[in-house]
Amino acid sequence: MTARRLDKGGRIDRTRPVNFRWDGLTYRGYAGDTLASALMASGQTVLGRSFKYHRPRGIMSAGVEESGAIVSVGADARHEPNVKATMQELYDGLEAKGQNAWPNVRFDLGAVNGLFGRFFSAGFYYKTFMGLPPFEWGRGTGLWMQYEKLIRKAAGMGRASRAPDPDCYDHAHAFCDILVVGSGPAGLNAALTAAEAGRDVMLVEQDFELGGDYLNDPAAEADRAALVAAVERAGIRILTRTTAFGLYDGGVAGLVERVTDHLAAPDPHLPRQRFWTVRAGATVLATGALERSIAFANNDRPGVMTALAARSYLNRFGILPGQRIVIATTNDSAYGVAGDFAAAGAEVVLADARSDAASAPEGVSLRPGLAPLAVLGRRGVEGVRLAARSGAGWSEAAREDCDLLLVSGGWSPVVNLSSHRGAKPVWNAGLACFLAGPTEEPIHMAGSTDGVWNRDDCAASGVAAARRAMGEVAEAPAPGGWAHPIQPVYEVRLPGSKVKAFVDPQHDVTGDDVRLAHQEGFVSVEHLKRYTTLGMATDQGKMGNVIGLALMAEALGCEVPAVGTTRFRPPYTPVAIGALAGRNVAGHFKPLRRTPLHDWNLRHGATMTEAGLWQRTWYFARTRETIAEAYIREATTVRETVGICDVSSLGKIAVQGPDAAEFLNRVYTNAFSRLPVGRARYGIMLRDDGIVMDDGTTWRLGEADFLMTTTTTNAGKVMVWLEELLQTRWPDLRVHVTSVTDRWAGVSVAGPKAREAIAVCLDEGIDISNDALPFMGVAPVSLKGGVKGLIARISFSGELAYELYVPADQGEAMMDLLWPAAERLGGCLYGLEALGALRIEKGHVTGAELDGRMTIDDAGLGKMASTKKAFIGAALRQRPDLTRADRPRLVGIFPKDRRQSFNGGALLCATGKVAGFGDGWITAVTHSPALGHWIGLGYIAGGHEAWAGKAVTAADPVRRGNVEVEIVSPHMFDPEGVRMHG
C-alpha cells in the first residue's frame, strides 16, 4: 500500500494541521481526520497485531466494524486499549500506540505463533493443556489454571490502565416522540419528515459529522448540506459522536455520547462521556449496512480493505490509499468505487465474480468471472491471485500486481438494534443478507438497514419510516436496487489447500476453524460462536458472522437460514464501564447518613465506622490508645460509672391511630394491646415464613400513639413491611406509620451512675427515680435550657440505662449538658465496639445473630412468642424442620484456656471431629472486661445444655488455627439482670 494525501478534495481542513504521536513518534494530520486516516496518510500500514497469530494488521474499514487497526489511545490513567483507529477523531497531542505486540507492531516477536498456526486452531489450548498428561490425569484442571495465565498473556488485546479513572461521566435522561438512529440519506429524511409534522425528534449519529454515506460522495454534498440545514432549522435535537448501543423495553434506547474524547484540552467541567436513557414513542433505525469481505488466503494483509472504506478515505479524507488497485466484488456497489479511483488517477482492475456483470466505468479494466484467491506479499499487498469458478469450486485463473486490494463480498444491514428487541433477523437470499424480522414494537427500518441500496430509494425509505412511526400508512421502497443481482461469494479456495483465510479477523477465526467446529459436532450456530469465538468481543459479528454462517451451511449441506443466526445483544459497540457508573462512584456510590450528633462526636474524639449507610461512632481513643484498649476502657467505665453512646441511627417509626395497638399485636410475637401508656416493651417480629425479621423496643406514648424502634440496618425494611401489611392485608386497620428516624437525636446513657448523670441535666421537678421511671418506663422530659424530648429506661448493655431522645437540631445542646455531667462522675463516651462487648457479655442479639435464617427459638427468645394470640409467622414457625431439637441454639463461648482468644466466623466442632460444616458457628467475639477473658456468642446444635461438659473446638484453620472452647449459657454476665433493674 502506497497511500498518499491528495492536494485537494475530502472534508479535512488542510489549513488546520494536527500533530499526534504514534508509537512515540510525531506525525501530522488535519482537522477532520480520524486516527486511521491520519496514519494512512502518514504511510503507516501495520497498525496492529492479531489476537492469536500476531499477524500484521492494517486498516480494514472506515468505521465501527474495524478489526485491524485496533490500538491503545491516551497515556497513564487515561490509557484506553482496543480503540478502533477508524472511530478515533484526531486531536492535537493525541497519543496512540500499537498493542498486542512486543517490541512493537512492526516487529513483533509474538509472530512466531504464526509459524505454528496449524496447531493453533479453534479449541487448541483447551484440548492441549486441559488435563495435560501425565500430570493432570485424574486430577481435574488444577494445572490448567496455571497454564491459562501464560496463555492469556500471549493472546489477547490491549491492557487497560490500572489507575482509577480520572474522568467523570454523566447520566442523562430524555424523552422524544421519535428517535432516529443514523443520519445518512434515510435518517436525515426520516428526522425531517417527523419534525415537519410537528413531532419532537431526536437524531443520533455515531460519527462526528451528519450525513452517513453522503460524506463519501462529493457529488452529493449539496444534497447533504441542504438536508442538514433543514434538520437543524426544524428544531430537532441532534446528538453527534453518540452511539445508540442498545434498545430496551418500553421504547428505551441507551446512548453513549462521547463529549470530550475528541478534544485536546477539554473543559474540566465537562464529562468525558454522557450516558443517555432516551424514551421514545417510536424509533426509526437508519443504521445503514456494513460491507463484508470474502474469506481467501491472507485476506487480512495490510492493504486489504472493504471497497467502501477505500472510497471513504479517498472522498472524505482526501487520501489515495493505493496506486495500483484491484477491486474484487460480487455486486454492483463497487462499480462506483472503481470509477472514483480511476478518476483520481489510480490504475484500477475490477474483478467481478459474476460473469454477466455490467459495463465498467471509464478507465477501469473489468475482469468478469474472477474472485480473489490469495494475497501476495507478507507485510503488505504486492499482488493478488485470482480464481475462476470450476465446477462446484474454484481454479486459479489469473494474477494481478497491485498495492491495494478492495473487497466487496456483499452488504450486511445493521439489524443489531432491532435484534436487541427480539426481532429475529430473516435471511434474504436474493440480496444475500439478513433483514430485520417482524416486531410488534414501534421500531421502523429505513434505508440500507432495510436492504435498500439505492440512495434515492433510501431517502424515500426514510420518509416512509417516519410516516409509519407517526402511525400513518406509508409504502416503502422494496429492498434491493442493484441493476444486476448479487452472486454471493463467501470463501474462495482451491480444493485441499491449507491456507489462512480469515472469517473473523479480530479473533483470528479462519474458514478451517469453522469446518473444524462442524467436524467436531458443533453444528448449532450458538456452539459455533463459542467454540471458535467467531463474532465475539468488540466485533459482535459485524465482519464475520454472515461468512461464518455461510461456511457452516455449506458444511452442513443446507442453506443459511437453516443454520440460523445468533441474537445480537447490546452493546452495539463497547461502552466504557465509567459511562455505566456515571457519577455513582466513590462517595456517591451510595447515600451517606450521619446522625445529628456526628460533628459533636468528631469534636470529642470519635473514630467512625460504617453501619449500613450510617456513619456511627466506633470508639473514642485517648492519646496513644489502640482500638482494643479504647473499647475495653469504655466498656469497663460503663459497668463502673456511666457512658454515653449515640444511638440516633436506630430506626424510629411512629405508629399511630385507633387500631395501632391491635396492629402491633399482630406484627410482634408478644402482646402489645395491654401495654400501658408510659411503658416500653421489647418486641420481636417474624416474617411470614416464621424466621426472625427484626427486634426493638416500642414505646406507648398515648392510647393511639406508639414509637417503634428498629435496628439500624433493618429500619427501611421494617417500614416497607408495615406499609405493605396496612395497605394490602389489613386495610381495615386505622393505623398510620411514619418514619421519624431523622427527627430525633438519641443517646443511650448507661451505667450505675446513669440516673445521677441525667438527673442534674433535667429541669427542676422532673423525677426519674426508680419509682417514677421504673425499668421500661417512658416519659416526656425537659432538659435545662428548654430542650424537650423523651426518656425511656431501656438497657442494651445490661446496666441501669436510659435512652434520651430530643429533636435532631437540639442534639448538640443535649450533649453539651449530658457529657459534662457524665464526665464529672468519671464517665466516658463509648462507641459500637464497646457496645458490642457489653451486649455480647449479656447475650443480647443483633444482626450477626438474627441473620435471616434463625427462628425466635434458635435465638433463645422462644418465650417471647405468645401462645394466646396469633401473629405474623405464628403458623410457619411451627414447621417441623424449624422445631427440631437439634436446631442451632444461641450459646455463649469461653476459651478453655482463659488466656486464649478466638475468632468470629470459626466453626464449632466436637473436639476430634473437625470436619464438614461442624455443629455450629461463632457469630461475635469480644474481650470481656467484666469477665477478664475472651468470650463469644454463636450457635450450636441443641444449645448449651446439649454440650455441657463436652469438649468443643472452634475450628479456624485458615486463620489462627483451632482453639479449644467451652459452650456456656449466652447470658454470660449478670444473668439475673440485677444491674439494669437497680
Binding site: Y248, D249, G250, V252, T277, R279, R666, D688, D689, V720, E723, E724, L726, Q727, T728, R729, P731, A870, F871, I872, A874, A875, L876, Q878, R879
Partner: protein, 94 residues
Amino acid sequence: MLRIDCPFCGTRDHSEFSYGGDGSVTYPALDAPMQDWHDAVFLRENICGRQVETWHHVHGCRMWLMVERDTMTHEIFSTRPAHPGLASALEAAE
C-alpha cells in the same frame, strides 16, 4: 425499563418502585392452619403472560400498588392502589 403509572404521582420510572410479589395471593387469617400459610407463602404460579403483582412506590408516595403486567412483554395494562378503600375512592372521584 418499565414505566409505572402511579395513581398518586403519575407515570414514573420503575427505578422509583420496588417489586413486591404476587398480587393475587390472599393471605390466610393469622390463626389459620399451617398448610394454608404454607400454600400462601411458598406456592406461586410461574405465569407467562398477564399477572397481577404488587409494587411499592418506595421512592415516591410509598403507596403499594396492584400492577397488571405481561411477564413476557412487560406491557402494563392497569395500575391501582393495593388498598381497596383507596382504589374505590379514586374510582368514585373519576
